[in-house]
Protein backbone atom coordinates (compact mmCIF):
# COMPACT_ATOMS: atom_id res chain seq x y z
CA UNK A 1 0.00 0.00 0.00
CA UNK A 2 1.37 3.40 -0.92
CA UNK A 3 1.78 5.61 2.13
CA UNK A 4 1.58 8.75 0.01
CA UNK A 5 -1.69 7.65 -1.61
CA UNK A 6 -3.19 6.67 1.74
CA UNK A 7 -2.15 10.05 3.16
CA UNK A 8 -3.80 11.78 0.19
CA UNK A 9 -7.04 9.82 0.71
CA UNK A 10 -7.05 10.66 4.43
CA UNK A 11 -6.35 14.36 3.78
CA UNK A 12 -9.15 14.61 1.20
CA UNK A 13 -11.54 12.84 3.57
CA UNK A 14 -10.56 15.16 6.44
CA UNK A 15 -11.07 18.30 4.34
CA UNK A 16 -14.46 17.03 3.13
CA UNK A 17 -15.46 16.13 6.69
CA UNK A 18 -14.39 19.41 8.30
CA UNK A 19 -15.25 21.86 5.52
CA UNK A 20 -18.33 20.27 3.95
CA UNK A 21 -20.04 17.36 5.71
CA UNK A 22 -19.73 18.81 9.25
CA UNK A 23 -22.12 21.58 8.09
CA UNK A 24 -24.94 19.08 7.66
CA UNK A 25 -26.41 17.90 10.93
CA UNK A 26 -29.62 16.14 11.79
CA UNK A 27 -30.70 16.40 15.43
CA UNK A 28 -27.07 17.21 16.30
CA UNK A 29 -25.74 14.12 14.49
CA UNK A 30 -23.07 14.76 11.85
CA UNK A 31 -21.55 12.53 9.16
CA UNK A 32 -18.25 10.76 9.84
CA UNK A 33 -16.11 10.23 6.74
CA UNK A 34 -13.01 9.25 8.68
CA UNK A 35 -14.55 6.05 9.97
CA UNK A 36 -15.57 5.31 6.37
CA UNK A 37 -11.88 5.46 5.38
CA UNK A 38 -10.99 2.97 8.15
CA UNK A 39 -13.82 0.62 7.15
CA UNK A 40 -13.01 0.79 3.43
CA UNK A 41 -9.32 0.11 4.18
CA UNK A 42 -10.23 -3.00 6.19
CA UNK A 43 -12.62 -4.12 3.44
CA UNK A 44 -10.11 -3.60 0.62
CA UNK A 45 -6.75 -4.43 2.20
CA UNK A 46 -7.41 -6.75 5.13
CA UNK A 47 -7.15 -6.40 8.91
CA UNK A 48 -3.54 -5.33 9.30
CA UNK A 49 -3.66 -2.50 6.82
CA UNK A 50 -7.20 -1.67 7.89
CA UNK A 51 -5.87 -1.13 11.40
CA UNK A 52 -2.95 1.00 10.20
CA UNK A 53 -5.12 3.19 7.96
CA UNK A 54 -7.76 3.39 10.72
CA UNK A 55 -5.11 4.60 13.15
CA UNK A 56 -3.86 7.27 10.75
CA UNK A 57 -7.39 8.43 9.86
CA UNK A 58 -8.41 8.55 13.53
CA UNK A 59 -5.31 10.45 14.55
CA UNK A 60 -5.84 13.01 11.77
CA UNK A 61 -9.44 13.47 12.96
CA UNK A 62 -8.32 13.81 16.59
CA UNK A 63 -6.18 16.82 15.68
CA UNK A 64 -9.24 18.87 14.71
CA UNK A 65 -11.46 17.63 17.57
CA UNK A 66 -11.47 18.78 21.18
CA UNK A 67 -11.60 15.19 22.44
CA UNK A 68 -8.35 13.62 23.75
CA UNK A 69 -5.75 12.80 21.10
CA UNK A 70 -5.92 9.07 20.43
CA UNK A 71 -9.63 8.48 21.07
CA UNK A 72 -10.67 8.29 17.41
CA UNK A 73 -7.40 6.52 16.57
CA UNK A 74 -8.13 3.82 19.17
CA UNK A 75 -11.68 3.26 17.92
CA UNK A 76 -10.81 3.30 14.20
CA UNK A 77 -7.90 0.86 14.67
CA UNK A 78 -10.34 -1.68 16.08
CA UNK A 79 -12.91 -0.89 13.37
CA UNK A 80 -10.37 -1.31 10.52
CA UNK A 81 -9.07 -4.56 11.98
CA UNK A 82 -12.49 -6.11 12.64
CA UNK A 83 -13.86 -5.14 9.20
CA UNK A 84 -10.73 -6.59 7.60
CA UNK A 85 -11.11 -9.84 9.52
CA UNK A 86 -14.83 -10.21 8.80
CA UNK A 87 -14.48 -8.96 5.22
CA UNK A 88 -12.10 -11.81 4.40
CA UNK A 89 -15.01 -14.26 4.70
CA UNK A 90 -17.53 -12.23 2.73
CA UNK A 91 -18.68 -13.09 -0.78
CA UNK A 92 -18.14 -9.88 -2.77
CA UNK A 93 -19.65 -10.53 -6.17
CA UNK A 94 -22.84 -8.53 -5.49
CA UNK A 95 -22.65 -4.73 -5.81
CA UNK A 96 -24.57 -4.15 -2.60
CA UNK A 97 -22.15 -6.02 -0.35
CA UNK A 98 -19.86 -3.03 0.23
CA UNK A 99 -22.64 -0.51 1.11
CA UNK A 100 -24.34 -2.96 3.46
CA UNK A 101 -21.11 -3.93 5.19
CA UNK A 102 -20.07 -0.27 5.47
CA UNK A 103 -23.47 0.72 6.92
CA UNK A 104 -23.35 -2.05 9.52
CA UNK A 105 -19.73 -1.34 10.41
CA UNK A 106 -20.41 2.43 10.66
CA UNK A 107 -23.34 1.83 13.02
CA UNK A 108 -21.32 -0.49 15.27
CA UNK A 109 -18.34 1.91 15.14
CA UNK A 110 -20.45 4.85 16.38
CA UNK A 111 -21.81 2.82 19.29
CA UNK A 112 -18.28 1.64 20.11
CA UNK A 113 -16.99 5.23 19.92
CA UNK A 114 -19.71 6.42 22.29
CA UNK A 115 -18.95 3.63 24.76
CA UNK A 116 -15.17 4.18 24.72
CA UNK A 117 -15.65 7.94 25.05
CA UNK A 118 -17.99 7.43 27.99
CA UNK A 119 -15.47 5.16 29.73
CA UNK A 120 -12.83 7.88 29.26
CA UNK A 121 -15.08 10.49 30.86
CA UNK A 122 -16.02 12.29 27.63
CA UNK A 123 -19.76 11.75 28.27
CA UNK A 124 -20.26 10.85 24.63
CA UNK A 125 -23.54 9.16 25.51
CA UNK A 126 -24.86 12.51 26.80
CA UNK A 127 -24.50 14.24 23.42
CA UNK A 128 -26.88 14.01 20.46
CA UNK A 129 -29.13 10.91 20.44
CA UNK A 130 -27.04 7.85 19.57
CA UNK A 131 -29.78 6.53 17.30
CA UNK A 132 -29.61 9.71 15.20
CA UNK A 133 -25.81 9.47 14.97
CA UNK A 134 -25.98 5.79 13.97
CA UNK A 135 -28.63 6.43 11.30
CA UNK A 136 -26.93 9.52 9.80
CA UNK A 137 -23.42 8.01 9.71
CA UNK A 138 -24.55 4.56 8.48
CA UNK A 139 -26.80 5.98 5.74
CA UNK A 140 -24.30 8.49 4.34
CA UNK A 141 -21.38 6.09 4.55
CA UNK A 142 -23.41 3.42 2.73
CA UNK A 143 -24.02 5.91 -0.10
CA UNK A 144 -20.35 6.92 -0.22
CA UNK A 145 -19.06 3.34 0.20
CA UNK A 146 -18.38 2.66 -3.52
CA UNK A 147 -16.33 5.88 -3.77
CA UNK A 148 -14.36 5.10 -0.62
CA UNK A 149 -13.68 1.52 -1.72
CA UNK A 150 -12.51 2.79 -5.09
CA UNK A 151 -10.21 5.37 -3.43
CA UNK A 152 -8.66 2.74 -1.14
CA UNK A 153 -8.23 0.34 -4.08
CA UNK A 154 -6.38 3.14 -5.86
CA UNK A 155 -4.19 3.60 -2.75
CA UNK A 156 -3.52 -0.14 -2.77
CA UNK A 157 -2.37 -0.33 -6.39
CA UNK A 158 1.29 -0.57 -5.37
CA UNK A 159 0.53 -4.01 -3.93
CA UNK A 160 -0.10 -5.33 -7.41
CA UNK A 161 3.33 -4.09 -8.52
CA UNK A 162 4.89 -5.61 -5.43
CA UNK A 163 3.44 -9.02 -6.24
CA UNK A 164 5.44 -8.97 -9.46
CA UNK A 165 8.58 -8.34 -7.42
CA UNK A 166 8.86 -10.96 -4.69
CA UNK A 167 11.50 -9.00 -2.82
CA UNK A 168 9.12 -6.08 -2.39
CA UNK A 169 6.15 -8.25 -1.39
CA UNK A 170 5.24 -8.18 2.27
Amino acid sequence: MSAAKVAAVILVALVLQVCLFARFSYDGARPDLMVLVAIAAGFVAGPERGAVVGFAAGLAFDVVLATPLGLSAFVYVVVGYVVGTLGANVVRSAWWIAPVLVALASAVAMVFYALVGEVLGQATLSGPPLTAIVVVVAALNAVLAPLAVRALRWARTDDIDHRRHPFLAR
Binding site: V15, C19, P47, V52, L69, T85, R92, L120, I133
Partner: protein, 282 residues
Protein backbone atom coordinates in the same frame (compact mmCIF):
# COMPACT_ATOMS: atom_id res chain seq x y z
CA UNK B 1 -16.22 -14.86 -5.38
CA UNK B 2 -14.45 -15.46 -2.10
CA UNK B 3 -11.17 -13.75 -1.28
CA UNK B 4 -9.46 -15.97 1.24
CA UNK B 5 -6.92 -14.16 3.38
CA UNK B 6 -4.90 -16.65 5.32
CA UNK B 7 -2.88 -13.88 6.88
CA UNK B 8 -5.94 -12.09 8.30
CA UNK B 9 -5.42 -13.50 11.78
CA UNK B 10 -1.69 -14.00 11.56
CA UNK B 11 0.55 -13.24 14.54
CA UNK B 12 1.96 -10.35 12.52
CA UNK B 13 -1.42 -8.62 12.10
CA UNK B 14 -2.18 -9.16 15.79
CA UNK B 15 1.20 -7.71 16.67
CA UNK B 16 0.45 -4.63 14.52
CA UNK B 17 -2.99 -4.30 16.12
CA UNK B 18 -1.51 -4.51 19.61
CA UNK B 19 1.16 -1.95 18.79
CA UNK B 20 -1.35 0.52 17.34
CA UNK B 21 -3.73 0.11 20.28
CA UNK B 22 -0.88 0.66 22.74
CA UNK B 23 0.19 3.79 20.86
CA UNK B 24 -3.39 5.12 20.90
CA UNK B 25 -3.73 4.40 24.64
CA UNK B 26 -0.40 6.13 25.34
CA UNK B 27 -1.57 9.20 23.43
CA UNK B 28 -4.87 9.14 25.31
CA UNK B 29 -3.14 9.00 28.70
CA UNK B 30 -0.77 11.81 27.75
CA UNK B 31 -3.60 14.00 26.49
CA UNK B 32 -6.14 13.50 29.27
CA UNK B 33 -7.53 16.70 30.85
CA UNK B 34 -5.12 18.20 33.34
CA UNK B 35 -2.02 17.08 31.45
CA UNK B 36 -0.65 18.90 28.46
CA UNK B 37 2.57 17.46 27.01
CA UNK B 38 0.90 16.85 23.63
CA UNK B 39 -0.53 20.34 23.29
CA UNK B 40 2.45 21.70 21.29
CA UNK B 41 2.21 18.69 18.95
CA UNK B 42 -1.52 19.32 18.47
CA UNK B 43 -0.86 22.99 17.80
CA UNK B 44 1.80 22.23 15.18
CA UNK B 45 -0.40 19.65 13.40
CA UNK B 46 -3.40 21.98 13.53
CA UNK B 47 -1.20 24.79 12.18
CA UNK B 48 -0.13 22.60 9.26
CA UNK B 49 -3.75 21.72 8.49
CA UNK B 50 -5.07 25.27 8.84
CA UNK B 51 -4.19 26.56 5.33
CA UNK B 52 -5.70 23.41 3.79
CA UNK B 53 -8.81 23.92 5.89
CA UNK B 54 -9.08 27.58 4.92
CA UNK B 55 -8.88 26.62 1.24
CA UNK B 56 -11.50 23.89 1.79
CA UNK B 57 -13.78 26.34 3.58
CA UNK B 58 -13.52 28.79 0.68
CA UNK B 59 -14.34 26.05 -1.85
CA UNK B 60 -17.23 24.45 0.02
CA UNK B 61 -18.82 27.53 1.60
CA UNK B 62 -21.20 28.14 -1.35
CA UNK B 63 -22.46 24.53 -1.10
CA UNK B 64 -23.03 24.87 2.64
CA UNK B 65 -24.78 28.20 2.19
CA UNK B 66 -26.95 26.73 -0.58
CA UNK B 67 -27.97 23.87 1.70
CA UNK B 68 -28.80 26.24 4.55
CA UNK B 69 -30.72 28.51 2.18
CA UNK B 70 -32.72 25.61 0.74
CA UNK B 71 -33.60 23.87 3.98
CA UNK B 72 -33.08 26.50 6.64
CA UNK B 73 -36.16 28.73 6.24
CA UNK B 74 -38.12 27.12 9.05
CA UNK B 75 -35.08 27.26 11.26
CA UNK B 76 -34.68 30.97 10.50
CA UNK B 77 -38.30 31.65 11.37
CA UNK B 78 -37.99 29.69 14.60
CA UNK B 79 -34.80 31.51 15.39
CA UNK B 80 -36.49 34.86 14.78
CA UNK B 81 -39.30 33.87 17.13
CA UNK B 82 -36.84 32.80 19.75
CA UNK B 83 -34.97 36.09 19.42
CA UNK B 84 -38.18 38.02 19.96
CA UNK B 85 -38.90 35.93 23.03
CA UNK B 86 -35.42 36.56 24.32
CA UNK B 87 -35.84 40.28 23.86
CA UNK B 88 -38.88 40.05 26.09
CA UNK B 89 -36.86 38.08 28.62
CA UNK B 90 -34.11 40.65 28.44
CA UNK B 91 -36.47 43.35 29.69
CA UNK B 92 -36.86 41.46 32.93
CA UNK B 93 -33.19 40.56 33.00
CA UNK B 94 -32.26 44.20 32.70
CA UNK B 95 -34.43 45.10 35.66
CA UNK B 96 -32.96 42.27 37.67
CA UNK B 97 -29.44 43.31 36.76
CA UNK B 98 -30.10 46.90 37.78
CA UNK B 99 -31.35 45.68 41.12
CA UNK B 100 -28.27 43.52 41.55
CA UNK B 101 -25.97 46.35 40.56
CA UNK B 102 -27.47 48.49 43.29
CA UNK B 103 -27.15 45.64 45.75
CA UNK B 104 -23.51 45.03 44.83
CA UNK B 105 -22.66 48.71 45.07
CA UNK B 106 -24.09 48.78 48.58
CA UNK B 107 -22.17 45.67 49.57
CA UNK B 108 -18.97 47.06 48.09
CA UNK B 109 -19.42 50.22 50.11
CA UNK B 110 -19.84 48.13 53.25
CA UNK B 111 -16.79 45.98 52.55
CA UNK B 112 -14.61 48.71 51.10
CA UNK B 113 -14.21 46.73 47.89
CA UNK B 114 -13.82 48.46 44.57
CA UNK B 115 -15.23 46.96 41.44
CA UNK B 116 -12.77 46.02 38.71
CA UNK B 117 -13.64 46.31 35.02
CA UNK B 118 -13.71 43.20 32.87
CA UNK B 119 -11.68 43.45 29.69
CA UNK B 120 -13.07 41.50 26.78
CA UNK B 121 -12.14 40.79 23.17
CA UNK B 122 -14.89 40.32 20.62
CA UNK B 123 -14.64 37.22 18.43
CA UNK B 124 -16.68 35.51 15.76
CA UNK B 125 -17.58 31.83 15.81
CA UNK B 126 -16.03 30.49 12.60
CA UNK B 127 -16.57 26.76 12.90
CA UNK B 128 -19.21 24.52 14.40
CA UNK B 129 -18.45 21.11 15.92
CA UNK B 130 -16.98 18.81 13.25
CA UNK B 131 -18.19 15.54 14.75
CA UNK B 132 -21.28 14.21 16.52
CA UNK B 133 -19.19 13.62 19.63
CA UNK B 134 -17.52 17.03 19.62
CA UNK B 135 -18.85 19.85 21.84
CA UNK B 136 -16.53 22.66 20.82
CA UNK B 137 -16.57 25.55 18.36
CA UNK B 138 -13.77 27.67 16.93
CA UNK B 139 -13.46 31.45 17.21
CA UNK B 140 -11.34 33.82 15.14
CA UNK B 141 -9.20 35.10 18.02
CA UNK B 142 -6.05 33.37 19.21
CA UNK B 143 -2.84 33.99 21.12
CA UNK B 144 -2.20 37.11 19.01
CA UNK B 145 -5.31 38.69 20.56
CA UNK B 146 -4.24 37.88 24.13
CA UNK B 147 -6.43 34.80 24.38
CA UNK B 148 -5.17 32.08 26.74
CA UNK B 149 -6.28 28.58 27.59
CA UNK B 150 -8.85 28.52 30.38
CA UNK B 151 -10.32 31.97 29.75
CA UNK B 152 -14.08 32.47 29.92
CA UNK B 153 -16.12 33.20 26.78
CA UNK B 154 -19.41 35.08 27.01
CA UNK B 155 -22.00 36.06 24.44
CA UNK B 156 -22.52 39.58 23.12
CA UNK B 157 -20.93 42.06 20.78
CA UNK B 158 -20.34 45.29 22.67
CA UNK B 159 -17.60 45.65 25.26
CA UNK B 160 -18.21 44.61 28.86
CA UNK B 161 -19.64 41.51 30.53
CA UNK B 162 -23.10 41.80 29.01
CA UNK B 163 -23.95 38.26 27.92
CA UNK B 164 -24.12 34.90 29.60
CA UNK B 165 -21.24 32.43 29.89
CA UNK B 166 -20.85 30.65 26.54
CA UNK B 167 -17.90 28.39 27.35
CA UNK B 168 -14.20 28.14 28.06
CA UNK B 169 -11.08 28.34 25.88
CA UNK B 170 -9.54 24.85 25.66
CA UNK B 171 -7.03 25.30 22.86
CA UNK B 172 -5.25 28.38 21.52
CA UNK B 173 -3.47 28.79 18.19
CA UNK B 174 -2.14 31.85 16.37
CA UNK B 175 -5.36 33.27 15.02
CA UNK B 176 -7.96 30.79 16.24
CA UNK B 177 -9.08 29.23 19.51
CA UNK B 178 -11.26 26.29 20.40
CA UNK B 179 -14.09 26.92 22.86
CA UNK B 180 -15.65 24.17 24.95
CA UNK B 181 -19.36 25.00 25.24
CA UNK B 182 -20.90 25.46 28.68
CA UNK B 183 -23.14 22.44 28.01
CA UNK B 184 -20.17 20.10 27.35
CA UNK B 185 -20.11 17.30 29.93
CA UNK B 186 -16.47 18.13 30.71
CA UNK B 187 -17.30 21.78 31.52
CA UNK B 188 -16.97 22.63 35.22
CA UNK B 189 -17.07 26.09 36.84
CA UNK B 190 -17.42 27.56 40.31
CA UNK B 191 -20.67 29.50 40.69
CA UNK B 192 -22.74 31.22 43.35
CA UNK B 193 -26.38 31.96 43.91
CA UNK B 194 -27.83 35.35 44.71
CA UNK B 195 -27.75 34.40 48.38
CA UNK B 196 -23.97 33.93 48.15
CA UNK B 197 -24.11 30.14 48.45
CA UNK B 198 -21.36 28.58 46.33
CA UNK B 199 -21.53 25.44 44.24
CA UNK B 200 -20.03 23.67 41.26
CA UNK B 201 -21.71 23.85 37.86
CA UNK B 202 -21.35 21.04 35.29
CA UNK B 203 -22.51 20.63 31.70
CA UNK B 204 -24.65 17.62 30.85
CA UNK B 205 -24.63 17.64 27.05
CA UNK B 206 -26.22 19.66 24.26
CA UNK B 207 -29.82 20.81 24.80
CA UNK B 208 -29.68 19.67 28.41
CA UNK B 209 -29.76 21.89 31.50
CA UNK B 210 -26.63 22.51 33.54
CA UNK B 211 -26.25 20.75 36.89
CA UNK B 212 -25.45 22.77 40.00
CA UNK B 213 -23.97 20.65 42.80
CA UNK B 214 -22.93 21.36 46.37
CA UNK B 215 -25.94 23.40 47.48
CA UNK B 216 -26.90 22.15 50.93
CA UNK B 217 -30.43 21.27 51.97
CA UNK B 218 -31.98 24.25 53.72
CA UNK B 219 -30.48 26.86 51.41
CA UNK B 220 -33.34 28.73 49.77
CA UNK B 221 -33.24 28.25 46.01
CA UNK B 222 -36.21 29.21 43.87
CA UNK B 223 -36.96 28.53 40.24
CA UNK B 224 -35.89 31.52 38.15
CA UNK B 225 -33.06 32.55 40.49
CA UNK B 226 -29.96 33.81 38.71
CA UNK B 227 -26.65 31.97 38.94
CA UNK B 228 -23.33 33.84 38.63
CA UNK B 229 -19.68 32.82 38.49
CA UNK B 230 -18.12 32.83 41.94
CA UNK B 231 -14.66 34.06 40.87
CA UNK B 232 -12.90 31.87 43.41
CA UNK B 233 -9.11 32.23 43.53
CA UNK B 234 -8.16 29.33 41.26
CA UNK B 235 -10.78 30.04 38.60
CA UNK B 236 -10.01 31.84 35.35
CA UNK B 237 -13.53 33.21 35.43
CA UNK B 238 -14.02 36.60 37.06
CA UNK B 239 -16.90 36.79 39.51
CA UNK B 240 -20.39 37.93 38.62
CA UNK B 241 -20.58 36.71 35.03
CA UNK B 242 -24.16 35.69 34.29
CA UNK B 243 -24.43 31.94 33.89
CA UNK B 244 -28.11 31.05 33.89
CA UNK B 245 -31.36 30.72 35.78
CA UNK B 246 -32.49 27.96 38.10
CA UNK B 247 -34.86 25.65 36.26
CA UNK B 248 -35.67 23.06 38.91
CA UNK B 249 -34.70 22.19 42.49
CA UNK B 250 -34.84 18.75 44.08
CA UNK B 251 -33.40 17.16 47.15
CA UNK B 252 -30.61 14.75 46.18
CA UNK B 253 -30.68 11.05 47.06
CA UNK B 254 -28.19 11.45 49.93
CA UNK B 255 -30.50 13.95 51.65
CA UNK B 256 -27.60 16.34 52.28
CA UNK B 257 -27.57 18.43 49.13
CA UNK B 258 -30.00 19.81 46.60
CA UNK B 259 -29.91 18.91 42.93
CA UNK B 260 -30.34 22.16 41.05
CA UNK B 261 -30.78 22.32 37.28
CA UNK B 262 -29.83 25.58 35.56
CA UNK B 263 -30.81 26.82 32.10
CA UNK B 264 -27.89 28.65 30.43
CA UNK B 265 -28.50 32.34 29.83
CA UNK B 266 -26.27 32.43 26.77
CA UNK B 267 -27.56 31.61 23.31
CA UNK B 268 -25.18 28.82 22.32
CA UNK B 269 -25.94 29.43 18.63
CA UNK B 270 -24.47 32.94 18.92
CA UNK B 271 -22.18 34.07 16.14
CA UNK B 272 -20.54 36.86 18.14
CA UNK B 273 -18.90 36.14 21.47
CA UNK B 274 -16.41 37.85 23.78
CA UNK B 275 -13.36 36.38 25.44
CA UNK B 276 -12.93 37.60 29.02
CA UNK B 277 -9.26 38.54 29.24
CA UNK B 278 -8.52 37.39 32.75
CA UNK B 279 -5.34 35.34 33.13
CA UNK B 280 -5.99 31.75 34.04
CA UNK B 281 -4.43 30.47 37.29
CA UNK B 282 -0.84 29.20 37.13
Amino acid sequence: MVFPRRSSRSPRSRYTLGLLLLTAITLLVLDLPGTGPLQPVRNVLAGVFRPVRSAGDAVFEPIGNGWEGAFGYDELKDENDRLRARLEDAKGDDAELRRLETEIKELQKLNGVTATGVQTRTAEVVSEPVSSFDASVEIDQGSGGGVKKGMAVITGLTSGPGGGVFGRIVEVQGGRSKVELITAPSFVAGVRLRTGERGVLRGQGPDKPLLLEGIKVGVKVAEGDYVFTSGITDSAFPRDLNVGRVRSVEESADGLNQTVEVTPLADLASVYVKVVLKDPPK
